[in-house]
């Protein structure tokens, strides 16, 4: 049974040890132990039993890969939501800077699962500030926010507006939010 445990450990340690992966590991290990015992009871040698157990695993790496892809998608979704919330709150408070499309005015953040930022000169950056807030830093230009199929799109327009940046309206919004609180 030790070889089986080691075999599973080697596979599982190559993937993120999320709660889900750990549960999967424990469940598989338990099933393997049951099968191993049954093989021994049926008269197989230790060696044969271990080989039999391992041959019944199937592609568990595929399951683990799928799991880690899913958790990456979830993190992105959360990031998109947090960012959308910040940007939208900001946009509402500085509406002369940002054009919010009509269908995007009253959306619910949980509807969002993706985020796209269109820029004219690809110099927009997402930065983490000291207090862990996300900041979008870019040239001072006008933006359009729109929601299409669960994706918040931030589009940089051609008109340049001097002395304002997206990060400045994020700052502005934080102030106004604090005022509301």
């Amino acid at each position: 049974m030790n070889r089986i445990r080691l075999y599973l450990d080697t596979i599982f340690m190559q993937y993120d040890s999320t709660k889900e992966a750990e549960d999967f590991h424990e469940e598989v290990l338990r099933n393997c132990r049951d099968r191993y015992q049954e093989c021994l009871d049926s008269g197989m040698s230790d060696e044969e039993a271990q080989r039999e157990v391992i041959s019944h695993l199937g592609d568990i790496e595929d399951v683990l890969r799928e799991m880690s892809d899913e958790s990456a998608r979830d993190s992105w979704k959360n990031l998109a939501r947090t960012f959308a919330e910040t940007v939208l709150t900001a946009a509402r408070s500085v509406s002369d800077l940002v054009n919010i499309e009509e269908n995007t005015q009253d959306f619910i953040y949980t509807e969002i699962s993706d985020l796209k930022i269109h820029t004219k000169n690809s110099d927009i950056r997402l930065n983490k500030s000291e207090n862990d807030d996300l900041r979008a830093v870019c040239d001072p230009e006008r933006f359009t926010l729109s929601l299409r199929e669960h994706c918040l799109e931030i589009r940089q327009s051609d008109t340049r507006i001097p002395h304002h940046t997206l990060s400045s309206f994020l700052h502005e919004s934080r102030r106004s939010r604090n005022r509301i609180r």
């Binding site: 424990e26 338990r30 099933n31 132990r33 019944h56 199937g58 568990i60």
Partner: protein
Amino acid sequence: MAIAGDLLRGNTDTMILRFLMEHDSYGYAINRSIRALTDQTYELNEATLYTAFKRLEKAGYISSYWGEEGSGARRRYYSITEEGKKKYQDNLIQWDETKIMIERLIR
């Protein structure tokens, strides 16, 4: 006996629901039942089993809980929900209709 793996695999979820209709169970026990009913010719591997459990749980057809075992790795038990029971009945009806259709089409 020559068996069509694809056809069987396509019915994995219904098989699992069927065993859970009887009582709560865990992966290895379900596999043992499948083996017994197929004269040791068929069973699900760990990856297939787990993926099916996940899918069914996400859809709300089954729920799971950990058993209280004395020592070592715990067993994860699954039980069928009311929705799962309905799903099982639907799948049976679907299977009956599909079976007839396939018969007509291939013979």
